[in-house]
Symmetry: C2
């Protein structure tokens, strides 16, 4: 039973880690090879991420490059960088030879500029070398940088039988055949076929007669997030990439898109929490500080702003209604929370392309929603203040302000991401500290104004 489970849920235990470390330490190469042979390369990468650098390099040098190239691609970026720094250009080139062109280009692009050329020059397969050079030229974050050159293509003039014979050759170097792309003599993409279609078709049929002309594709300069949207929407598992003349250049597979989507979700989540730069919990304290401190500094500025407002109202309220100051954390918290809620909904709607209709109707809806929420909360606050202080005017001033603050916070939370989006700025920066801080200040200001008005001070 436990052996069967292994297939599904690899779990990196302390025992396993100790066993690997011991075998490395005692240089028991045969046993180590035998042990690691059982694991998927993604699992071996997980083990290596927990070893120290010398141990990891020992294991990498021990295994054959067919396996290690895949392991290297699965390592944490920091660890991969360290390992690669300890391999010669020749050794890296050997790993690169084993990788698909997209992974190969990714690995090389992470190297320092001067090493890149050295490694490329050591690649023996001339075609592979040229293809990697081409991929490296595309801008990061575009379809070109994401695609692989490996694909199966057939010409429209071929027959099914000839096609099956010829693609046997092409297919051997493509890990997975999703679609067969049909091109003209000039390499222009005109359609697609599935292997299934080919198997089901008769041997003497012409490709031109059986291919499906309705083929989705993206151009090479398309943004990767846009490619992800298209593939998710149309449930595609691979999509061909073409240039402006529709010449077939490569293909993007869903597993790379899954990674893009994961990264995007993580970036948005972090941005909402006031963290920039795609860090993770294992990064150094310095990197984490760089990602977190700027947003905290923004919060500090906001706090100083709130201080100055309260200082400004000191003369008015300290004598007559000092209690008002004690509700500022509540007001600020509510303004912040409402702002984050409404901006999160809008940011998510924008990401899914389902925010339609005018900005005004959005603002009206949010106003009604905030008014409803604010009213319910204000009743509780009114009762609390009244019971605590036995003053209707104070209770009224504080709870009316709360409603006003919540409405304004909701409107700002709705408006800011919509506005940023119209301006072509990623609306995700609007959630989190940015909206909290501005709503804090504005909420407190509004609170004191309204309280002043109602109390007639």
């Amino acid at each position: 039973m436990s052996e069967e489970k292994e297939n599904i849920h690899f779990e990196l235990t302390e025992e396993l880690l100790e066993q690997v470390k011991l075998l490395v330490d005692e240089q028991k190469d045969k046993e180590l090879q035998k042990l690691l042979k059982e694991f998927h390369y993604a699992d071996i990468a997980e083990i290596l991420d927990e070893l120290n650098l010398e141990e990891a390099i020992y294991v990498i040098k021990l295994l054959d490059s067919e396996t290690t190239s895949d392991i290297l691609m699965e390592l944490d970026e920091d660890n991969r960088e360290k390992v690669l720094r300890n391999l010669s250009a020749k050794e890296i080139a050997e790993e690169v030879e084993e990788l698909d062109t997209d992974d190969a280009a990714d690995m090389i692009s992470e190297l320092p500029e001067e090493r890149q050329q050295e490694v490329i020059s050591k690649i023996e397969d001339e075609e592979h070398k040229e293809e990697i050079r081409e991929l490296l030229a595309y801008e990061d974050g575009t379809a070109g940088a994401l695609m692989a050159k490996e694909l199966v293509k057939v010409y429209e003039t071929w027959t099914v039988a000839g096609c099956l014979r010829r693609i046997r050759g092409q297919a051997e170097e493509v890990t997975r055949v999703h679609s067969i792309y049909v091109v003209t003599k000039e390499e222009k993409l005109i359609g697609r076929l599935s292997l299934k279609d080919l198997i089901v078709a008769k041997n003497d049929q012409k490709i031109a007669d059986i291919y499906i002309s309705n083929v989705d594709y993206v151009t090479v300069d398309e943004e990767d997030e846009e490619v992800a949207k298209v593939m998710a929407k149309y449930d595609l598992e691979a999509i061909p990439v073409v240039d402006e003349n529709k010449t077939l250049l490569g293909r993007i597979t869903i597993d790379d898109i899954v990674d893009v989507m994961k990264e995007e979700a993580e970036r948005d989540y972090q941005m909402a929490a006031g963290i920039t730069g795609d860090v993770d919990s294992d990064d150094s304290i310095f990197e984490l500080t760089k990602a977190r401190l700027p947003w905290l500094f923004l919060g500090l500025i906001g706090g100083v702003g709130a201080f100055l407002i309260m200082e400004g109202f000191k003369g008015l309220f300290v004598e007559k209604a000092v209690i008002l100051f004690f509700f500022t954390p509540l007001i600020a918290a509510m303004a912040g929370n409402v702002g984050v809620q409404s901006s999160a909904i809008i940011v998510q709607g924008l990401a899914n392309d389902d925010v339609r209709g005018s900005i005004n109707s959005r603002l009206l809806k949010e106003m009604l929603l905030a008014a409803l929420n604010g009213f319910v909360l204000a009743i509780f606050l009114f009762l609390f203040v009244f019971l605590f202080e036995s003053r209707v005017d104070l209770a009224l001033a504080i709870s009316v302000s709360l409603v006003a603050v919540i409405i304004v916070a909701g409107l700002i939370g709705t408006f800011v991401p919509l506005f940023l989006n119209k301006r072509g700025i990623d609306p995700a920066i609007a959630t989190g500290p940015f909206i909290t801080t501005s709503n804090d200040i504005l909420g407190i200001l509004l609170y004191f104004w309204i309280a002043k008005l109602i109390l007639g001070i």
Copy 2:
């Protein structure tokens, strides 16, 4: 050019929407069919989501059920529910017949209990009916509820030629062939093959000799998020689902997993913003209130807590250092921001399974990080207070408190999600309002304690 672009980027324009509405209004069926024929079903669903109910139903009844079944699956859940309410059980059964079993079961499961049986009884294909019944029995959120019964399987005893011949039949009803699953006579999963392997193999080879025995699979009661992790980690495009005896029951494809991942990311994002229940910006004000108000109420309770603390320190500070009260929004904001940052990092690390090592070492790291950030921020705050009030003791009290508050907030933000996770509770609820509110209160309390100590009041 514009026609070519259409393939990639369908954009729902006002003009197109008006055109569709007009054709529906004037009942120009032929023209409408011709117009819609050009679009992908996912695009037609986008159009229908913007029509009113009568118009949408008109279009659904106009098109053939092969297209409409796919359109229905792509509609917003609310709209699908409304449309289905206006179709007869017979009509729904016709749609269901066209769908793969997983989509069919999903559509039926959204119907009210009493209609479900009625619709199922109207399905004519007995096998389809039985398979849907089976799928409906699995618990929501498990591999069983996510899988489809459509798959291509071969017995180990077959030859390649016989296999190719026989799978032609099976393959016709499977939209995409990812893997061919190899089973024993007793239907036990023992391996896999790709179509490519089959094409590359010789006709007279036995399946038993060429199949790959190393096959990943999940059991039918596995959680869907776990399935997503496995598929993403091993770059799988489909995974077979088995019962406890390893009997092959179905398969899950990557497009369904992409949806699971998207939903999970959206839920986590919303949870961090203080929104529960997977709402979107088009939901009703009532639904949005239900998702948002509880978290706001939590914030209100927190605010009242902060009030009570400040009220408690009133006697001490109002006379001698009222300025301290004016920094409470700053202290609360910093405590909240730091808490959200550190919890977000931990929550994300836990989701990715890469939080390893002891809780203590995590807490130590966060303490150092928070101390570093806090120290930098405290210098600025010290200078500000000193320049503003010309009192070293006040400036010191406030800035030392800030450092302490930031450290404690970081520790709580790190500890709470780790603790929840150990207890088997989704740590994502720890970010957002929960951590902000508790850090607000604790931060303010700590702030006044330390200030009292330093100022010696």
